[in-house]
Amino acid sequence: MAEKKKAVSVLLNGLINENPTFRLLLGMCPSLAVTTMAKNGLGMGAAATFVLVGSNLVISLIRKIVPDKVRIPAYITVIAGFTTMVQLLLAAFFPELNKQLGIYIPLIVVNCIIFARAEMFAQKNGPLLSVLDGIGMGAGFTLAITIIGSVREILGAGTWMGIPVTVDLFEPAIMFILPPGGFLAMGFLVALFNKLTSRKKKDKNECKTGCGMGCPGCSQAANGGEA
């Protein structure tokens, strides 16, 4: 039973409390560059998940025989192998998505998430757990960059997945499609994510500040509770 519970916790781990993009802030390059459109985010997420799961599996299988001296090149070759496989498959069967994602597909190789998971997780755990971790992390990554993609697309181009959403509500701010918009959207989303997930941890009675404004000061600065 514990084994099963651990597997489930590893799977869910990647989604919320260790979400690679919002929590660990890994894989920033693709998540900022590709998310000009929600559809791109989804495509990129799926491709990255495939590579992540594949490489986690293979790396966890060969982790015992790879000597430490060539550990990094060997793992990187495995990841590159899967990335090229995705590249070929995309070019053959989804040419349109391939044109959009362009230079960013080969960059999945250096996507920090995959290499980080390989080093941190796959190297220490068995194949089954690694695959689950890959799926969890991949899903977390896909979820995150699709959200970023949607935010940027709605604000920047007034459409969502190509369907016009805000026809005359407001003039879309093109800035969100440009690089600065990527940073901005990402910044606010991470802040929102912190706000949501940190609510549980804050202990009520801690009075945040000194007695600056006498005791009412504490309540005003903390979260409204009476000091």
């Binding site: 390059c29 990187i76 960059l107 290499f115 800035m175 991470v190 912190n194 706000k195």
Partner: protein
């Protein structure tokens, strides 16, 4: 000669790797806490970028192109980069231990740095000559350094600012990065070709 100059300025300002092409963000956000570490890191990145551009160009020209193996570019390039970084790491550890200590953990981090592989893929896409691609790598490294040092100065000031709870740490850094990258959008019209 004009062409090289255009590439140099282009890669450093117009298509700044970090702020407009989104390559190399992980170290950019991770390492820019202090200017000294930022300097160390960008020194390593420029060094590796130039070397990797040269080696990857040669591999592409004499190994991949003759036997039409373009699809193996990613795997060959990343293999070269990983080996190169590890080689540089071992040599530095022996020859200049002080520099190695200063770079510390950032050196292996460069292997997964998107900027290095990104610039290799770009010179293939634009099929630059050997000199052009090395200059492009060097310029990209300079662009990375410029962005990193500029940004680490800002981040040091951020430490003392009074930031709302949820924005502490990474979110405020990202927002600061977006403001800096707006300034770089201003260079867009600079291409002289």
């Amino acid at each position: 000669m004009k062409e090289l100059f255009a590439i140099l300025i282009g890669a450093m300002l117009v298509e700044n790797f970090v702020l407009s092409k989104f390559l190399g963000i992980c170290p950019f956000l991770g390492v820019s806490k202090k200017t000294s570490t930022a300097l160390g890191m960008s020194g390593a990145v420029v060094f590796v970028l130039v070397l990797s551009q040269a080696v990857t160009w040669l591999t592409n020209e004499y190994l991949l192109k003759p036997n039409k193996l373009e699809y193996l570019q990613t795997i060959a390039f990343i293999l070269v980069i990983a080996a190169l970084v590890q080689f540089v790491e071992t040599v530095l550890k022996k020859m200049i231990p002080s520099l190695y200590k200063a770079l510390g953990v950032y050196l292996p981090l460069i292997t997964t740095n998107c900027a290095v592989l990104g610039s290799a893929l770009i010179f293939v896409e634009r099929d630059y000559t050997f000199v052009e691609s090395v200059v492009f790598g060097f310029a990209a490294g300079l662009g990375f350094t410029l962005a990193l040092i500029l940004f680490s100065g800002i981040r040091e000031r951020l430490e003392t600012a009074d930031i709302p709870e949820a924005f502490k740490g990474m979110p405020i850094t990202l927002i600061a990065a977006s403001l800096v990258s707006i300034t770089f959008v201003g260079f867009a019209g600079l291409i002289i070709s």
